[in-house]
């Protein structure tokens, strides 16, 4: 799909897997967003990849605005997906007490999407240390993005908080905790 910059909608950005800017004169292209690239999808494809090409001249001053807009929308989308995934986990895990998203950067960096990273505290698990488990997207189950899950016991979580048990590279920035639905209602 090719869209002039002025006609680009937020919904087109949301549904795009790949976003590129194309100069209408030279047809030279540049990728603005490419993700989620990591992880195998389940069930196996083929899957349609939604590519949006935005017509914008190379020297147009609005390039930076476009990047900011795409970054903002894709960040919201990732946060929504993280919440949805956490909700599914809460539904099947009575021992799950805390779900905290993490990121490798303070801002949502384009062009490649980072997987959802969740640190989960579970009273029903056993201590095994920091074991990041990676999962691919599963679009049919409503999981559009790849994810990495670290599950720990409450004691291990205290060690993480006390910096006695470091999280891996790429887990430097703690995001807002995702609450179980009942807790979320009570905290409002």
């Amino acid at each position: 799909m090719r869209v002039p910059y002025d006609q680009l909608t937020d919904e087109q950005i949301r549904s795009a897997d790949v976003i590129a800017v194309v100069d209408p004169q030279t047809l030279a292209g540049q990728t603005v967003y490419n993700g989620p690239a990591r992880g195998r999808q389940y069930p196996a494809g083929p899957y349609a990849v939604q590519i949006v090409e935005i017509e914008l001249a190379r020297d147009d001053a609005r390039h930076q605005d476009l990047r900011r807009r795409v970054a903002a929308i894709k960040k919201i989308q990732r946060d929504e997906s993280a919440s949805e995934l956490a909700k599914k986990h809460f539904q099947v895990e009575p021992g799950l007490t805390r779900v905290i998203p993490f990121s490798g950067s303070q801002t949502f960096e384009l062009p490649t999407a980072e997987p959802i990273k969740l640190l989960e505290v579970n009273t029903n698990t056993v201590p095994t240390g920091i074991m990041p488990l990676g999962f691919g997207p599963a679009p049919e189950a409503g999981i559009r993005l790849p994810s990495v899950i670290i599950e720990v016991t409450p004691d291990e979580f205290e060690k993480i908080e006390a910096k006695e048990m470091p999280l891996p590279k790429g887990w430097e920035f703690r995001q807002r905790e995702i609450l179980r639905e009942l807790d979320a209602v009570e905290s409002k």
Binding site: E93, T128, P132, G134, I149, E151, K169
Partner: protein, 168 residues
């Protein structure tokens, strides 16, 4: 140099072969339990390792180490439960059972002894606290009982699906 995706698929393929052998042995009444369960333990450990590589772990490091499955396998099973149509009518109960089975599967590996309280394993003879020698081939393993429970069928289906998911 192989990519992490290739390593993941490689581990999953080997896990699939281990799991197929486990199912084959399960049908053969004359095969000792220790051998049946050893293949299940190996399949589950490789399945977890495939996901650890996908999560960023170094494949070379995982080749020579034992990975504890009691805490990790349930996370893999949970993900499969969410995306699968198997066992979702009582997912919470299935998860509780999966955690029990995963703990017992972990104990099948000789490296795991839970502080000496559970030296039983699938491979090597051991001595109990009273000084009696036990041999895996004669031992009745707890996972065998758990595998007879109704939820075990769901658990095994989810393990098989999780392995297949990574192979495709």
């Amino acid at each position: 140099m192989a990519t992490p995706d290739e390593w993941t698929a490689g581990y999953a393929r080997q896990a699939g072969a281990d799991f197929a052998t486990f199912l084959l042995l399960l049908e053969m009444g004359t095969v000792p339990q220790c051998h049946k369960l050893q293949f299940l333990q190996m399949a589950c450990e490789k399945l977890v390792k495939a996901h650890l590589i996908s999560g960023g772990d170094d494949p070379a490091k995982l080749q020579s180490s034992h990975t504890r499955v009691a805490g990790t396998l349930p996370v893999v099973i949970r993900q499969q439960l969410i995306i699968s149509k198997v066992g979702t009518h009582n997912a919470t109960w299935n998860m509780q059972h999966a955690r029990l089975i995963a703990e017992e599967i972990e104990l099948l590996a000789p490296a795991v002894k839970r502080g000496g309280s559970r030296p039983d394993n699938c491979e090597y003879p051991w001595e109990d606290a009273a000084g009696s020698l036990h041999v895996p081939v004669d031992w009745r393993f707890k996972p065998s009982d758990l595998l007879l429970a109704k939820a075990a069928r769901t658990f095994l289906k989810l393990v098989r699906e999780a392995i297949s998911r990574l192979q495709t």
